[in-house]
């Protein structure tokens, strides 16, 4: 009986060892399969010249593949397909501007955040420097957005004026009806890029709420997650993360946005 028991345990251990995890699978196959956006610049989009998917997310995916010593295979995805691709095992990782939420974390694991986009403000130069001033200002927001809700909740003395669309809010800012408008940072940058007198405006370098973007990892793949997290921290330490950021949001790009978040700031 005792012998049988030992045998049973031994067979369990053996099967455990024989069942390699995803990290081993990737190394064995020699390919890292990553889901990325193909139409969400500058995170992941098809480069019109090379016809290849490029972007900030893709740069990170390349570094991860290099670190594992395997080839990178990109799989285009859209917001709705990200979780199914990962849970069905069709890809090994998701790098597609993937906001970390509790709801999603029930179905998959996230790496530490490697990017953050937050609610920011656009104002005439010199009028807004810190969040403390918001309580005394009239601020334009888009109707029906979380920006509107967050602003009203956290800055009850600010006068929130909600408009149908960002261009209306911006016109109100231009005319002086509001002193600032609020939106997600990357969206404000995109808006500002098309303004003729953009030198009169600025996006003050602070956020009032943040969305964190992480790498989607299959649930329970601890070793794979460790490699991803270590690699991300190394990238920050070596300055490579800042270089990737600057390539897409740096001062010389179409949509300059100051880098407020560093990898490792938030676990």
């Amino acid at each position: 009986m005792r012998r049988l028991f030992l045998l049973l345990i031994a067979s369990f251990l053996a099967s455990g060892a024989a069942h390699a995890d995803r990290l081993d699978d990737i190394k064995q196959a020699g390919v890292l399969r990553v889901a990325a956006f193909d139409s969400n610049p500058p995170f992941g989009f098809v480069d019109p010249d090379s016809k290849q998917i490029v972007g900030l997310d893709v740069d990170y995916a390349k570094v991860l593949a290099d670190k594992l010593g395997v080839k990178l295979e990109l799989r285009p995805t859209n917001p709705a397909n990200r979780i199914p691709l990962l849970t069905s095992g069709k890809v090994d990782l998701v790098l597609a501007n993937f906001t970390i939420t509790e709801e999603r974390a029930k179905q998959l694991d996230f790496s530490i955040p490697y990017f953050s986009s937050g609610q920011q403000f656009l104002a005439k130069k010199g009028t807004l420097t810190s969040p403390d001033q918001l309580n005394g200002l009239r601020i334009g927001a888009d109707k029906g957005t979380t920006n509107e809700i967050v602003l009203r909740r956290d800055f009850p003395k600010a006068v929130v004026v909600a408009f149908d669309d960002t261009p209306f809010a911006f016109t109100a800012l231009r005319n002086g009806n509001v002193q600032a408008i609020t939106q997600d940072g990357p969206k404000l940058v995109g808006l500002l890029a098309n303004v003729p007198d953009r030198e009169n405006y600025e996006i003050p370098p602070f956020t009032i709420s943040d969305d964190y973007i992480g790498v989607g990892i299959p649930k329970g793949e601890k070793r794979l997650a460790d490699v991803v997290n270590e690699t991300l921290l190394e990238l920050e330490a070596s300055g490579k993360a800042a270089a990737i950021y600057d390539a897409w949001f740096g001062p010389n790009t179409k949509q300059p946005l100051p880098r407020l978040f560093k990898i490792g700031d938030k676990k």
């Binding site: 009239r138 334009g140 109707k143 509107e148 109100a172």
Partner: protein, 246 residues
């Protein structure tokens, strides 16, 4: 779960009631101002002086032939871009006048633009209602009064005007009702009236049916009460006396 589904938290009901108060105050202010404007424009039209008539006709046709929403955008976004920036800054900063008991708040620019746009709009229609009222008085009334030897001013004041007011009264009340409903368009320029408040509640609570359902009930109530009051005035003794036909 009542008829309206999930009940709404008190703070959201308060938002709706605050929006309703703004709708009522704005409607009342616009109705009063537009009535004055309508009388003045009607006076210009009947003055017989060509430049004044052309001025009044141009105003009425521009206002009546363009959508109200576009007019509101014009006053809020367009006109404010043309104003000197010093004036805009003054208009957009809160001004509080501390009187003995109450402190008067200078309204926000959204309110000023909304009030201005709605008044110009309703004024054009009310001017036409008054003109129709005056034209609707039987010419024999005027002729008889003249035959009695009354001066033209007295003919107008004592004979034509009372009858014209009676003819015009219910159509003018109809314009007040339109004004109540038209205030909802000012949500597009960020004026926090009832429609704006109901959308804001909907955004925060996702209680779509409740938010817009309550707003609908409040609009219906405001319109019904105003209409009933208008009819009551039309039936009242004084009004009837003033407009009694001989």
């Amino acid at each position: 779960m009542g008829v309206f589904g999930e009940p709404m938290a008190l703070r959201y009901l308060i938002w709706l009631l605050e929006g309703f108060a703004v709708t009522l105050l704005l409607s009342a202010a616009v109705s009063v101002a537009a009535t004055g404007l309508g009388i003045a424009v009607c006076g210009l039209k009947l003055s017989g002086r060509r430049p004044l008539v052309i001025l009044a006709d141009t105003y009425v046709s521009i206002i009546r032939n363009t959508p109200l929403l576009v007019q509101l955008f014009f006053w809020y976004f367009g006109a404010s871009a043309l104003m000197p920036s010093g004036l805009m800054t003054w208009l957009n900063t809160p001004h509080v006048l501390d009187a003995v008991l109450v402190s008067l708040h200078w309204p926000a620019f959204e309110t000023i633009a909304g009030f201005f746009g709605l008044t110009l709009y309703a004024g054009a229609y009310i001017a036409e209602e008054f003109r129709a009222g005056i034209n609707g008085v039987d010419p024999a009334q005027r002729e008889s009064a003249m035959a009695l030897g009354l001066r033209p001013a007295l003919v107008f004041w004592l004979v034509v005007l009372p009858q014209a007011v009676r003819i015009a009264w219910l159509p003018v009340v109809g314009q007040y009702l339109n004004t109540i409903k038209n205030t909802s368009l000012t949500m597009a320029i960020g004026l926090a009236e009832l429609s704006y408040a109901s959308r804001q509640v909907e955004t925060e609570t996702f209680l779509t049916f409740q938010a817009f359902g309550i707003a609908t009930i409040l609009y219906v109530a405001a319109v019904a009460v105003t209409e009933a009051a208008g009819h009551a005035v039309a039936r009242s003794g004084r009004f009837a006396w003033a407009t009694q036909r001989p």
